[in-house]
Symmetry: C2
Subunit: 198 residues, 2 copies
């Protein structure tokens, strides 16, 4: 599968690189999860990546996020492959049918607050780590968990460090854990963590 | 352009990720550089990426590396798009025709020693940094310099830190500088640095 290169030059950001990594593992007809729908950008990316025969589960705890994602998918006629759930991502293990456990090809997290929404309603380390733990059980061999972590808001740096600690403690025999960050003069740019199951 | 996914599951390493990043910027018919031919793996990747209408310049200071690369390219009938130069990469600015200056789409560095060769013959910070400086002048807008830096051999850590310092001092208005590293229990795995020209 191929990254959308309609724009001749893609500027590498945590989000575009998460799509690049995910594109290299997602195949047509895969089942994947957007753990944080937000405004639907990752949900659309995932839905296009898995194609008509695939399936995307999308989670968000905010009504307006689910509505925005529904609207964004509808505008692109992509609703039929998606199931949007107004739930916290730390309930994903019980919400995803057990027949898919161990077979989810990609799980994307985009942490922090909803762009354009209430900046005080943020993802929190405790539920993020619980959702990551559940994600490990859901993930396919060769599959990928990507986490965009933001450092610029209150609590962001704490959450990013919690994600880094989680990733750094996973056994190398079972997982590649990769940190990708901008290093020139951009301390508040988001950091991308990826967990690849071996 | 698309990453080679003949293998169903790619294990993310500094080298496979450098190919993934490069694949997202290289277009058919581009002119690119392999700054460290080694055994020819990156040269082959680049030659296939630019296609029949493209051009690859390959540098190495070791006879056996140029010979190995020539042989590897020949086996795949890829010699016609390549020009192999038995020169240090810190001479690239004078060796690449001036009509290509500012138009090179990708420049790949794979530092350290030649796998299977003399482990004492290693790339050194002074010539690596000079070659990186020249690479900035050669690079196209939207183009990419990738550097795989190894920490496991004598002098490796010093060179990796020199590359990190070089990247971290480039102005954010003109470059995205990105560090990608394994963070779980793998301190000696190579680190990937990427410089994207904006």
């Amino acid at each position: 599968m191929q990254l959308d290169t309609n724009q001749n030059n893609i500027s590498f950001s945590a989000v575009t690189l998460s799509h690049l990594y995910a594109s290299s593992v997602i195949r047509p007809n895969d089942v994947v999860i957007d753990a944080t729908c937000g405004n639907g950008n990752d949900t659309i990316f995932l839905t296009e990546a898995v194609g008509n025969g695939g399936k995307v589960y999308g989670f968000d705890i905010q009504d307006i996020a689910i509505e925005a994602t529904h609207k964004a998918l509808s505008a692109k006629s992509l609703l039929q492959q998606t199931e949007l759930l107004l739930q916290s991502h730390d309930e994903m293990l019980s919400s995803i049918p057990s027949s898919y456990h161990g077979k989810i090809r990609c799980i994307m997290f985009n942490l922090g607050y909803l762009p354009g929404g209430d900046k005080h309603q943020i993802t929190l380390p405790s539920s993020t780590l619980e959702a990551l733990q559940q994600s490990l059980q859901l993930l396919d061999v060769g599959g990928l968990i990507s986490i965009c972590a933001y450092r610029g808001h209150d609590g962001g740096e704490e959450e990013e460090k919690a994600v880094e600690t989680f990733c750094s403690q996973l056994p190398k025999q079972s997982y590649n854990c990769i940190k990708t960050e901008h290093i020139n003069e951009q301390p508040n740019r988001p950091v991308l963590y990826c967990i690849q199951k071996l």
